[in-house]
Symmetry: D3
């Protein structure tokens, strides 16, 4: 069960409104690699966890923390969309960014064009659980497979893509309040990249998983002849220069082999069998219409 305290995990106050930036910042709230994605991913991995309790508890710690990040970003966006406190309705029309948006004269179409119109029409200048082009968050961004090595690799990715996007957004604003909050989120992503790297090592140290994931599948059931072969299917000249083309593989179980001119191992393509005529697909030879 969950409780909320009426204080933000960290500051979430811009120096001034900026509705165009509010649209862009949505990416790390409701985008594929935004905070809703990690919140949901960690919570579902935790609730579904059948591994030792330390992993489950850790997942639920970080999943719970991420709800606070969602809260900070939602608040920041709502403030980026707001006017300064106004005394009267008339002043609002004259003096504020929002006034420009709503103004019949439409003299500031550039601002309006750069805004997400749904911020005004749908959300009344509030944050929305969508990304920077207004595409709604969906739960295919939540990953929980039951195999923790596969999942922790995803988590490490999420913290890398997420930190990358927050860094880009940091460069795209000069507002000190926004940058202050983003510097906090960037630091937490540094922590979380390290956390998942540590957790991956721990899974291996505990003997629970190892490369290739899943560890528990008997390797003699795979087609071992091709398990360490590099197939050069595109004729670029440089791919042979990488460490993936020769030497011992990172899992320590094979030697990389470079096939410069790989050949197919399967059969020549043959015709598929004919279909039941009641499915009315195009057959190989003319057939009379079916009897009625």
């Amino acid at each position: 069960m969950f409780f909320r305290t009426n204080q933000f995990q960290y500051n979430a106050r811009p120096e001034r409104p900026d509705p165009v930036y509010a649209k862009q910042l949505q990416e790390v709230l409701g985008g594929q690699w935004g905070e809703i994605s990690v919140m949901m991913t960690y919570l579902f991995q935790g609730w579904n966890c059948r591994a030792p309790a330390k992993y489950r508890d850790m997942l639920l710690d970080i999943g719970t923390e991420e709800i606070a990040h969602v809260e900070m970003l939602a608040t920041m966006i709502a403030r980026l969309l707001e006017t300064s406190p106004v005394e009267t309705q008339e002043d609002a029309a004259k003096d504020s960014v929002i006034g420009a948006v709503m103004g019949g004269a439409r003299v500031e179409d550039a601002i309006l064009a750069g805004m997400n119109p749904q911020h005004a029409i749908v959300a009344g200048m509030g944050a929305t659980p969508t990304d920077s082009v207004g595409y709604p968050w969906n739960s295919r961004y939540t990953i929980a497979s039951g195999n923790l090595l596969a999942d922790f690799r995803f988590n490490l990715t999420a913290e890398s893509q997420g930190r990358l996007q927050v860094c880009r957004l940091y460069e795209m604003t000069s507002d000190p309040g926004v940058r202050d909050m983003l510097s906090f989120l960037i630091a937490r992503d540094t922590m979380h990249q390290n956390q998942w790297l540590a957790a991956i090592r721990e899974l291996e140290a505990d003997g629970l998983e190892q490369t290739p994931a899943p560890f528990s599948f008997p390797q003699d059931r795979e087609k071992s002849e091709v398990a360490y072969q590099y197939w050069r299917c595109s004729d670029g000249a440089e791919s042979q220069r990488g460490s993936w083309a020769a030497g011992t593989s990172p899992d320590g179980k094979g030697e990389f082999q470079f096939l410069a001119d790989p050949q197919p191992l399967g059969e020549t393509v043959e015709e598929l069998a004919q279909l039941d005529p009641r499915l009315h697909g195009t057959p190989k030879k003319p057939m009379p219409p079916m009897a009625s």
Copy 2:
């Protein structure tokens, strides 16, 4: 530019039709972690690559190989859905699985219920670019950020989740032909997990990226006080036992610190500013309707 040779990369022939399994196998063709996803991901990462050419060429090698995997799976599914060659329409009705599906008597409703009805109605017993619940593949499954460390971590994840799913599907069938093909795909995923691990190491060896990604963001701009702190936001007792709670962090740049009872650092939640009344949100105090 691309060319196709009329031979499969590896065998793609089941011993006998199995339309229920055909539905399940769709997951690794058109699902989130299926072959279309890695095909598109590697090709787009390659086409967008601004890093040294060996990375681009390698991405395009593997992206091109994945098209062949899509081809094998599509063919396998079309064959799992097909009848044996039939001489006459009447025989089809009597002797085949498809006949049972189409039969008015509906005596084999269990088979029909387990099939994807779109295999019959929409695709005429062909493969579809959808997953095992019939949800269409979409390009949010394609990741290409321009930062190769972030992307290679995604690629490693994709090969882990993908291999996990193929292994599960291997357990769910006893058809020797299907298992033969899957053993090939599992082995290629072993290769590709190793390949991405090697590529990650190479990025670091080349001095191009390192943890935390992105490497090029000045670390003194992040809120360093919280960059190595573990916040225990859920009261499970076990999370302190992991290597993420103490010791040197995997990036070698910090010491993990465990906060057993973390406290918020931000301000107490305050009221948001009032909205321009022309947006007709609910205000803090009653206002008369606007003048017309």
Copy 3:
């Protein structure tokens, strides 16, 4: 069966083209709370209705009216996107908004930036069944549950959210023709809010439904101890001041009770059971790989 008369329900003609506003106006055509949503919702509720015929007939009256609203909005948007009739191609380039859009010089990028590019590229300056960010309408916006109290509450919501959005769009334009049409739609939404309020009362007067919906579920099967308790899960100080915290509940069947410091009633979280190893999830203890 349906028939169409070649006259609009009300005027749908702007004074002048405005392609940026055309994009914004899409929200109430193809957005979540737009006219397509209510059209489809009322028709499906009517076609599926198993309640007295007066409800079904009323649903089909209003559902049919909404098709006319879709028609008016589509026409208005097509006209907002159009040029004045032009004699020659050269004039078009010089004299019209569209000319600016298509012009090689791109001097009016602000207009172009504010347009939905699909209006030009995909629809040839016609209306599209999408919202103001170009997201396609989908049928999850259609609600028809078979329980009319639940559905009429949805309908009341739809007319409220819809009227709110139309009012906001009214404020965002000064075109007299557009405002004339919107004033008609706003008035119809006033009618329809009243209509659903009346219909909700009638369901109760007819003895068919009452709060809590669904009425027909035996209330002694619910956990009655918690059916009127307010749980304060967030530590804001003000929530106790509302009428939801004390007094008789609106259904007249209980007394609100305020729990200022609610405690969980369920068990402490325990470990989930181990998984069949053939699913290759991470287990609680190390296991050797499965036999091949």
Copy 4:
């Protein structure tokens, strides 16, 4: 900021596994009217709230409670999918539901057919944030408009549709553990329907909103002639018998008027203007191809 306690809000333990029911129960976890929807809706309404603090605090209380409901349902589903604790791999194959699913013999295809295959292949027998047909949750289910009357009407709907679905699911199982948990959720939905009814009354009592929503739009700007007219657009005979056809309207501001044979008020449909020829739409008269 949020914290989690390691105890469920209420019990979440089935008497025995039932993977077919697990699929069905997903509807109220990740479906349109499931617990994720209300969790996200109430939190976003709270974070965006610009109305008096009692409303914001109340929204955040109930939003935080809903996270606990998500937790209970996810756990219940994970348990419905699990085997009893097993000693050995061989036993698993023989004695459990999961064994049947994984078994090569496929003797229990009916069970398999009724399951969501992604529960096995994608989630390793864990809960997923999807509905009962496997469609992913998406944030268009989250409503927060900034107008609390419009939003509270939505919330009342959500608790009605949600309670309806939970009641139906209650009827579809006889497992005492499942029914125990559902009886708790049904009771909470009773509370929450009452809570939103009370909150709607309070908005009106506070003078902040009233019918028609939004209250703050000047009513003299709407086309008042049609604001209380019932248009009979479908020829069913019964719609005139409802309270929506005559008498004072629920908002007390008008008299319902029944138009038995309504006539269009708008112009006859006319041709749209011709398009800039560079958009290559079909014109009214033949034109030569454009000069190159």
Copy 5:
């Protein structure tokens, strides 16, 4: 504006309920090529039409007819899901298909497994605007480009794919009532295929459009050297045998030319330019972190 008459265009009554078939029949109601798609497509093409009025009026005739098809299918599905009229609640439990679905004993899991669970849980045994796997209809299925040749070719496709699916569904049932309705829909699709073929010829006869669409684009601006070349990019031996490989092209403007061994015409792939370092993509050479 639209009106509805309270009579079906044609019969819509099954002989008996069949909830599994109801799920399958959804494909032609709410699927990609179902009746909602053609209804919306024809109406939007009509509303956006800037061509001679005979085309617009024809589009609106057929678009309006399609609403009646949606109505028939929705009603048929609601009836396939219903029980026979029942006297008492107890009988319902014992004697009906629905009773089996709801029964605690779950003895008829095959039926339940084959149903769409949302028919019961979400829609209370009513039709839904979704396809046969429960995927919601969306407006990307609506095509209206402003170019009538392009659009009429789509319409011809829609009537072909739609008739194909209805024919397949005809084969999948033996219910005389269902087959009667489907025979009507199949015949209307025969009409509509002919109608679009006639309309395509008329566009050409009127001098408004011709192949290649769009006709109005100056053909000398296209790269004419490759406008009639067949490129054999896959090494199958048979493609040269088709009429597309030699002879005069159907538009009468060129001669087909078969390239058995086509060669790329573009440049060798070169490196992309380096990115602004503030985007934190992976560069070609190591760079120090940016100054803070």
Copy 6:
């Protein structure tokens, strides 16, 4: 199996960057009628083909060619988004379009507003598999029914809609490099429209398909009375003037008949049967709550 050669099919180099146009050009890469759609459609039709091998081989030739078109467009977009090679970070900030985008001063908001923000934040100035409003490509754009006449009509449509969009985009730029590439794609679309027209004729000449599709369904099973009737359901005056209203139908099997005042053939709408009370829908008459 597939191979790639490291040379473009045709040139893909703009004269200068143009990030606003990059956004627009996405439509024909990742939009509904873009190159990914035809690539996937032709490949899946080829892999699923059960017709004579010449059709399969032809489908795979063209499907493989389309991968090269995807490659050209992706590269063009990446180049439209790039800066000229820069020596130093400072120069980047001053002299380039990208510099303007990233600049704190935000003096060029119009450019920024017209860009897709995900090009910067998500893709690091690379192409994405999305359309011009950022909506992701999805596989419902891939059509493969097993009936080649239905599918080739779709393919003809795709080449028509696609060529139309490319022509519009040609008009929207004056960059010679972009226009050069587009002139190549327009010419290939000319070829492919002709190719599908030829293939449709060949299917008929081979006796495999004819109008109405599917040919193999016995025409005496359709309701022949209505198979050539035009129903005028909208009261426009002009629809009678088309060739669809009289004369022999294009399939040569009927005579068009114009119904100026069509009448419904089906029954008057009747009430649906009552529902099992355990589904808690609204019944026709009041019922007491169920016994617990």
